[in-house]
Amino acid sequence: MTAATADHLPLAPSHDLSPDHHADHGHHATATGLSNEKVAMWAFLGSECLLFGALIATYLVYKGRSINGPFPKDIYDIPFTSASSFILLMSSLTMVLAVSSIERNDQRRLRLWLTVTALLGMSFIAGQIYEFTAFVNEGLKIRTNLFGSSFYVLTGFHGVHVTLGILMLLSLVNLSRRGKITQAKAETVEIIGLYWHFVDVVWIVIFTVVYLIP
């Protein structure tokens, strides 16, 4: 698998560190044939598991321990959040389409799908802002009770991750417009896609554990 993959991957930065790289063009210079960036992204995502795990665990530790309301059951709007979750899930699909577009050097569709992904992400964030505003109006603030503290911190942390992802997607659209995302660099799109899917995966857990299980 690894050997077959190597030819399709773009050059890693380490490539230029190779003494005989002039004779070596088109071949991956790393020890495993995998690019440094991708290994780093997966390591980073492994680290993020512990980060979100700690936040989710904190939410679970305090589940049902709030002394005064509002309690989750009073304010959750499951149909609304289900729609948000659908939007984020959908954005994972469009991200996959963006990666598949650049793999066949289809720059126009790459920009299309990246933009759609970013827009879906923005809709999700807009939904979150609406949700937070509604909750605050119903009397749930970060200082109100344990539920308020742990809910806002967990979902807020996730929201910040989505926002950073949107910024990266828009940067990609911009780079593609300037002709800087060649087919050889499909992997850059793929790696940002990994981050995006990870944020989606975290939401899958949050949606079930925080919203659906009382």
């Binding site: 698998m1 790393t30 389409l97 066949r104 079930t208």
Partner: protein
């Protein structure tokens, strides 16, 4: 993950792609998406049934469904299933470590009290089972490093 081989007539003389909007792989991903939607629908639907009031009995299918969705997105959309085993190792290490450590914390602070709390561990085991089912095409979940290029290559 390797790009699929596309026929030459999908490209014009300048190498620009002029083929169909979606490839066979895209179509497979549509199917994956539909499966994810169905699983989400089941989850939301379950939360409106009377099962919802039966704590552990409700948590088991819900956590399992979330875990299965997690593994499907990681396996197909993040193409962990088709990628080098090394990627799987890095990610599974983090995910399993998080699962282990935080379950232990939750147990230690007494959040898993009451009858049927062990069902949570069953869900955890179920997810591990799914990880196994969705193991890479090469059949390796956690392989052993063969090492970089052999000495003879230089």
């Amino acid at each position: 993950m390797s790009a699929e081989k596309l026929p030459d007539h999908y490209f014009d003389a300048a190498g620009e792609y002029i083929g169909p909007a979606f490839t066979a792989k895209d179509k497979q991903n549509f199917k994956i998406f539909v499966i994810l939607l169905i699983l989400t629908g089941i989850e939301v639907g379950l939360s409106y049934t009377s099962l919802e009031s039966k704590k552990a009995l409700f948590a088991l299918p819900m956590l399992s469904l979330a875990g299965i969705k997690f593994v499907i997105v990681a396996g197909y959309f993040m193409h962990l299933k088709f990628d080098s085993p090394l990627m799987r190792r890095l990610f599974i290490l983090g995910a399993v470590l998080a699962g282990f450590c935080y379950s232990a914390v939750l147990t230690a602070v007494g959040q898993f009290r009451g009858a049927g709390h062990w069902l949570v561990y069953v869900a955890f085991a179920l997810v591990l089972l799914v990880v196994w089912v969705f193991r890479g095409d090469d059949g390796v979940v956690m392989g052993v490093d063969k090492g970089p290029g052999t000495a003879s290559s230089h």
